[in-house]
Amino acid sequence: MNLDDRKWKIVQRHLGYSDDDIAQSFNSVYSRPGKLIQSGLFATLLIWAAIFWLLFSFIAPKVEASEPEQLTVALTGKYPPFSFYDQDGELTGFDVDVSRGVAQELGLDIKIIATEWDGILAGLLSGKFDAIIGSMAITAEREKQVDFSRPYYVSGAQLFVNAENDTEIGSINDLAGRRVGAVLGETFEHYLTEKHPKIETVTYKSTVDIYQDMLNGRLDGFVTDRLVGGYQIQSAKMPFRPAGPLLYREQMGIPMAPGHPILLARINQALEALESSGFMADLHRKWFGPVAADNAAVRSGEMSNRTIALMLLEGFGVTIGIACLSLLCGFLLAVPAGVVLHGKPSPLLLIVRTTVDFVRGTPVLIQLFFVYFGAPQIGLTISPVTSAIITLSINGAAYMAEVVRSGLMAVPPGQKLAARALGLSHFKVFRFVVWPQAFRIAIPALVNSSVALLKDTALVSVISVAEVVRQAQSIISVTYNPMKFYFIVALMFFVFTYPLMKFAGRWEKALKKRGYADD
């Protein structure tokens, strides 16, 4: 009894077989090949499971987490309370907190670069950083250059008045003929002089001067950014209150250089998550105090059709790419596997048979997780896309191996004899006579496997591969229109699968006409 036999015996004894059973199973394994599969299957499965378990338990502790990528964002560091340096010289502020929150949500390390407002867009476009999280308002002008995320906060021009004295002032209209302050050159000044000529607009060099004159009663009110004002009230304990609604609104977004729809979509998802988790509301409370409440929730629902189309197409490109590569690898694996399955009983057949059965008998989703989360544990760092391709290749190979096997079975044995009688070598018999026929017979089933594999790519969205389903999810997280976009995705798949299915049907008919597999 060789080593293998002994291992078998041990396993079988563990399974509760008596020695007699074992002896019998051995006889059947080695003398009557037909029973090889049945008796060996369960035991092999067990051995495989044991091997995997051992592999993982030995290797897992030694593995370190792979280093995450980094998200680089820019802001000015000169715009309190959004970004500024605190007493300890640490960069801090609302935008800094948002940056950290987004990065955490994306699972990336964050790098924040403080740069001048002047060159900040140029820096973004030249790729010095991935995004600007620096309170940039979304304007039509800027949108020509960059792609904006959904707004992450809304602000705008706000009138502030003295909280104790001017209780009768409800809105800017109550201030006709009175003195209202604004910083010289800011949009608020232009707004006041243009839209409210009856108000006496008093300009100052900085907000600090405005607060001074507010406190000593020289001003009846001032207009500044709603959140900046709120922060002053909160941090400097100024006795001001916002009066009336926003004079005009500004939506702040995160601009990115064009051509990164995937990162953009992920950032949008991250922002949405931060909002729904209450993270944003907390930040508003932390930085803007009294004006926080009605600014916390930012909803948009806007995404340009161009961006949507681009995202879906790019996603479908990834889908098709993954499907094609997996099909190719799977097929290349399936041919030898199918040949082994069709061949004479051997240990190799047993291994292939068990593997194929195991893969076919377990959910693709689990296989995907197994590869994706398992690979790092054995020291392999593979990207989600690679994991997806590996999983789908193996899964496709298992199904296609069966197809190849039945294709080979459908070739009449006389064909092989006839080819041998003509003097063809074993390889050439396969290459020129058996395989071409088996392949033609297998084509309809292979096409069906391909269709199944193409559909299975939808599953890899769960390991954050930016294929079309994932892209659709990103779009839906912004637009809140699941029906529409899932239907579009379904159609995209159908456009590919329908001709394939038709083709398979046609081929099958043609095969019958050509007289295959029925002589």
């Binding site: 064909q415 006839a418 080819a419």
Partner: protein
Amino acid sequence: MIKVTGLEFTYPDGTTALADISIDLSFDDDEHITAIVGPSGSGKTTLLQCLARFLTPGQGSIEIDGIPAISMSEAQFRSKVGVVFQNLNLFPHLNVLDNLTLAPVEVAGMDKGDAEREAMEMLERVGVSNLVRSYPSQLSGGQAQRVAIARALVLKPDFLLLDEPTSALDINTTNALAELLEDLHSSTNFIIVTHDIPFVRKVAKRAVLIQGGRVVSHDLVEKVMHLFLQQNENR
């Protein structure tokens, strides 16, 4: 010359199909066709499969022109002995021409153009040169039979084994086949396994009668036929 000595073959299930076969099939200038006849189950196909080296006999030996078949290389053996199967086994995915050129090109290493020229010549000889581009599924039984014979003959074997060549043919095509074999026999010796007696009468001078895996008679066709018919009647 094919010399069979003490051939015995038992199938894995224990059926002894050939008990003890010894025959000398010597061909000479005016004798190129030998028939092997016998009732159903007598072992004809098994014998042919042994002669074609598809089955390995348990005992006994086969010599081809004085050389033991088992000692020959596959290439050497296949170049000497061709087979036409009962169900022909034409390659359905290849057209007639490609059925004929596959082996010359892939085995003999012949140039594709040369192989096609020779194949055309052979198809003309067997009378189906109009079908070169047809696929096997488009051929009639008789046409397919001729293509199968042509496919074996392009390799110029010294011996060609045919298993029940007339089983799928009607009387006219059977007659045509008989004529064809007579035309072709100058360069190749035929060994025909069959129980089609009229056909044997037409094409062969000598026949081997086997029964129960043994040679009962090896003689002139008329004598063997007589014996065969007599024994069939006795049953």
